[in-house]
Symmetry: C2
Subunit: 204 residues, 2 copies
């Protein structure tokens, strides 16, 4: 991606992609901006604006060609790029994420898991090995992986993040309810599930 | 909450809350807006503005009193309200969420899980029962639960959502990669993990 696309647009594009995937599965070939808009409860001018930033030529006079629009979104958002990641923390959430095969469709390639629990080390989950975290720095270098999905218990989050930074991990997808302190050149995305929930249930 | 607080502010307030929880655990009594700002890599004027919307009186001349600021955030965001929810789909993600005790701190009370798999029905996870989904409508009414956390496989997402709507569920926290079609009076929050990941790894 050359130009900056805002988070909100990326969010909507992935939702359009979900809809297009469902339509393809149902052998529906064409979709209108109106149909996309109704499903997302937004205005169809917004849908057309979002789609205008894609290099999408798949438009017929009745709507967008589902397969081509889906491909355009995948190209624009870089689904085809192979983004190598480790899961750090083989607890409940780490294991659930390791079993979630849908990630691969978006280019997220989870190579293996790491933990410091001797009972977990050596295990396998969804064809991915669970290894001793002491092996992470070496494997990160060898495999060219710089993304960590952090799913350790909250009390170990910062110390683990420090270790990942030392191992040249540059992107930490943080599923712990902790604000991590990291150097400037390391990106952290806080997967703040509870903030989403609180926002969503605001009026209850 | 009386007045509308934006999603971005709710997001930051929950992150401040994470930091305050860590500080309390370390017996640190006072925190400045600058300290909060540095951890979140934002401007401290933003922190002060966010905190000004709380009914927070816990301010000393060196900073905010950690315990009082934490309580102010909890009151403003309604952590003390008991929000009763069901997990629908006792697969990997559903089970992981059921085991995540941190939700309770935010007022999210997961009562039980539902599935249609006879091998899962009757099981227990983290002291919560896994019940036949056919029992959901009756239990939702009896227990006054109107929040569903949807973690079924994507191909069953819409049909399950239809069933939940019939059962008077009004809030669906959607963890499936599907855009659901629901009536106007039902709120859906799409927990769009992949959009977050794509936004986060944009420059890779």
């Amino acid at each position: 991606m050359d130009k900056k696309i805002s988070g909100k647009v990326i969010n909507r594009l992935t939702l359009y992609h979900c809809i297009l995937t469902d339509y393809l599965a149902q052998n529906i070939d064409v979709i209108s901006s109106k149909q996309l808009a109704v499903l997302l409860k937004i205005d169809d001018s917004q849908v057309r604006k979002d789609i205008s930033i894609l290099n999408n030529s798949g438009k017929s006079n009745v709507g967008y060609i589902v397969r081509e629009l889906k491909t355009s979104i995948e190209q624009t958002l870089g689904f085809e790029k192979n983004k190598k990641a480790f899961i750090v923390g083989a607890g409940n959430l780490g294991l659930a994420l390791a079993k979630y095969d849908n990630f691969q469709n978006y280019g997220l390639n989870i190579l293996m898991l790491f933990d410091n629990d001797k009972k977990k080390i050596g295990g396998m989950v969804n064809n991915k090995m669970i290894l001793d975290i002491a092996k992470l720095p070496n494997l990160a270098r060898k495999m060219g992986a710089d993304i960590a999905i952090l799913t350790v218990p909250r009390q170990f989050a910062q110390i683990t993040a420090d270790y990942l930074v030392q191992a040249n991990i540059k992107y930490i997808w943080n599923f712990t309810p902790t604000v991590l302190s990291v150097p400037e050149d390391v990106q952290v995305w806080n997967e703040n599930l509870m903030a989403n929930f609180l926002q969503f249930t605001y009026n209850i």
